[in-house]
């Protein structure tokens, strides 16, 4: 076997019928030296996929194989919905894409909450009063639960007192002072990673 591998490669490739036996290792070693033409031809022999297009039935005719890349779409490819109405690409794409409404959309990450719009101005005044009288008792979360709205709405409506802010800041400092270096670094790294999301890195 050793002398087979050490033998000059090109004549063996050129004359494959001279090979003494279909030895597996030799075949493997020879496959590395295939000519690029053969390699390319072999790579092109892929199994037809459903995404290749509708021309599967007429394989005898010339047709275009549409093989979409298996990668995330580029941001320079404007979504069809974002194309202005005057753009020619919009009509082209709408014409080519089949209407596949029947295909179910993927599941949502989180069901969008139904907005109720049930709070009246008097409720809002009540929220403000409660938050001003006892900020420790009536936190944002508690108010949201009590009035069945989102905490963001509470923050839009009113602001907490500076004393509460100061207390919260002290509490946070007290908690963070107990962190060791590992946890602190991990938190900082997490924040850095979060900042990188916005830069799309």
């Amino acid at each position: 076997m050793a002398h087979c591998i050490a033998a000059p490669k090109r004549p063996l490739v050129a004359l494959p019928f001279l090979l003494p036996s279909p030895c597996e290792s030799i075949a493997l070693a020879l496959r590395r030296n295939q000519s690029s033409y053969r390699r390319t031809k072999q790579r092109l022999r892929v199994k037809p996929d459903a995404s290749f297009g509708s021309s599967l039935t007429h394989t005898q005719e010339d047709h275009i194989v549409h093989n979409p890349p298996s990668s995330a779409p580029s941001v320079y490819l404007t979504p069809t919905k974002f194309l202005p109405s005057g753009d020619i690409r919009r009509n082209l794409r709408l014409a080519s894409v089949k209407n596949n409404d029947a295909e179910a959309l993927p599941p949502v990450v989180r069901a969008p909450s139904e907005k109720k719009y049930h709070l009246t101005p008097s409720d809002i005044r009540e929220i403000r009063r409660l938050r001003a009288t006892d900020p420790m008792m009536w936190s944002r979360l508690k108010l949201a639960k009590h009035f069945e709205c989102s905490p963001i709405f509470i923050s839009l409506v009113c602001e907490t007192s500076p004393q509460k802010k100061e207390i919260q800041k002290r509490v946070l400092e007290a908690v963070q002072s107990r962190w060791g270096s590992k946890r602190r670094m991990a938190r900082e790294d997490r924040q850095l990673r979060k900042d990188a999301w916005g830069r799309d890195e």
Partner: protein, 407 residues
């Protein structure tokens, strides 16, 4: 030709007696004056212009080479002897109508030679305006929805001082140790900063912005268009011409940084190409050396709350509210999960992103969707300055829509 008309205008209207215009006009005037005096190789088409000029000051009398040490910058006749200058001219494919004397002049910074007849300040003013005009019209027409902050960043990336300094370095322009009359005119001449000098002063004062002393006030993006320069940086207020000499005298004692001198040179070269070879050559020069640089605009965005922006955008454009959907996922309960989340508006996918958590994937998908909106580029883009060419097709208005999402 329009170029000639411009020169005629500046030559006849702005005479030396009635020079009360702004700084730009004054510099234009000096640039023309130079062209008429210090370019003996100018083509015959300029003869008429030269005759139209008001009494032009004579160039410096030629002196023996010993007294070149007394000159602040190399004399005009030295430009013909410099092999460095000739090779730079050929290396940049500059038009042959641009004489070596003007190229030599564009290499003399105002800090080396305070005389406006011999430094590149006037050329640089013209070139700066041309560069910013060409770049901004390219950006705005190619990416009509680009947010203004990103336009500022793209302008900085294309024609900012750092880029221009790098460009001068890539052109093989070396700089002198100290300016003087004996140096080869092929070097970039400027007075260097003293060692230890502050290169970037943090706060620029004396801008035209009202209430500039209130540093904590919010500066809107729209106000930056009005008060700031093309990169969104605060810019110093202009000086009336009456106070010009003493201020220049004050500035000349200080040096300039290499970056600043290099960018001034590139500006001046652009202005020189425009003045001598006309608008088409200037545009060609711009396309060959500036627009050919590689810049990925999608890397210039930095979003802080893309989900909110996208929701506002869909509401503004009367699309269905965006919904995040999980396209695929793997290893949800493992240490390194991957989620691929798509943002859908109705049945249409706006963008998708992958992340190690659902939050990250959603964030990234929102960023991708917003970039898909902002990076829209119409087909067959034409810029307004293409109408200046002979026999241009009738102008069709470029695409303009609401563009940026304002929260």
């Amino acid at each position: 030709m329009k170029r000639l008309q411009l020169q005629r205008w500046s030559g006849s209207v702005l005479s030396a007696q009635a020079r009360t215009g702004g700084r730009l006009q004054q510099r234009l005037y000096t640039a023309i004056r130079h062209q008429s005096t210090a370019s003996p190789a100018a083509p015959a088409g300029h003869d008429q212009l030269i005759r139209e000029q008001p009494q032009a000051p004579s160039i410096r009398p030629s002196r023996p080479s010993q007294s070149r040490y007394n000159l602040p910058s190399p004399p005009v006749e030295a430009a013909r002897e410099s092999a460095k200058l000739a090779s730079l001219h050929a290396r940049l494919y500059l038009p042959s109508r641009l004489p070596l004397e003007t190229l030599a002049r564009s290499l003399v910074d105002a800090s080396a030679d305070p005389d406006p007849n011999f430094n590149n300040e006037s050329l640089a003013t013209l070139g700066h305006d041309l560069l910013t005009q060409y770049t901004s019209e390219y950006l705005v027409c190619t990416y009509p929805r680009l947010p203004l902050t990103v336009v500022f960043a793209a302008m900085y990336a294309y024609v900012g001082p750092k880029t221009l300094a790098a460009m001068a370095k890539e052109w093989g322009v070396e700089s002198v140790a100290a300016p003087g009359g004996e140096v080869d005119p092929g070097y970039l001449q400027f007075r260097r900063l003293p060692p230890g000098a502050e290169v970037n002063p943090e706060l620029i004062t004396g801008t035209e912005r009202p209430h500039e002393e209130e540093t904590h006030w919010r500066k809107s993006v729209t106000s930056r268009v009005v008060y700031d320069n093309e990169y969104g940086d605060p810019v110093k207020a202009g000086v009336p011409p009456s106070e010009l000499p003493e201020r220049e005298a004050k500035n000349n004692n200080l040096g300039v940084s290499h970056e600043q001198a290099s960018s001034t040179f590139v500006h001046a070269l652009m202005g020189a190409v425009y003045l001598h070879a006309g608008r088409p050559a200037a545009k060609r020069f711009f396309e060959q050396h500036f627009l050919s640089r590689h810049l990925n605009i999608s890397d210039l965005f930095n979003f802080s709350s893309p989900a909110r922006d996208l929701a506002r955008l869909c509401a503004r454009e009367n699309f269905d509210a965006p919904v995040a959907r999980i396209i695929s996922e793997t290893g949800r309960k493992s240490r390194s999960p991957v989620f691929v989340v798509g943002i859908y508006s109705g049945a249409d996918k706006l963008g998708e992103g992958a992340g190690a958590s659902l939050l990250e994937a959603r964030f990234r998908a929102c960023v991708a969707s917003l970039k898909g909106w902002y990076l829209y580029s119409p087909l067959n883009v034409r810029v307004p300055s293409s109408m200046e060419e002979e026999g241009a097709a009738p102008w069709k208005p470029v695409h303009v829509d609401l563009g940026e999402v304002i929260i």
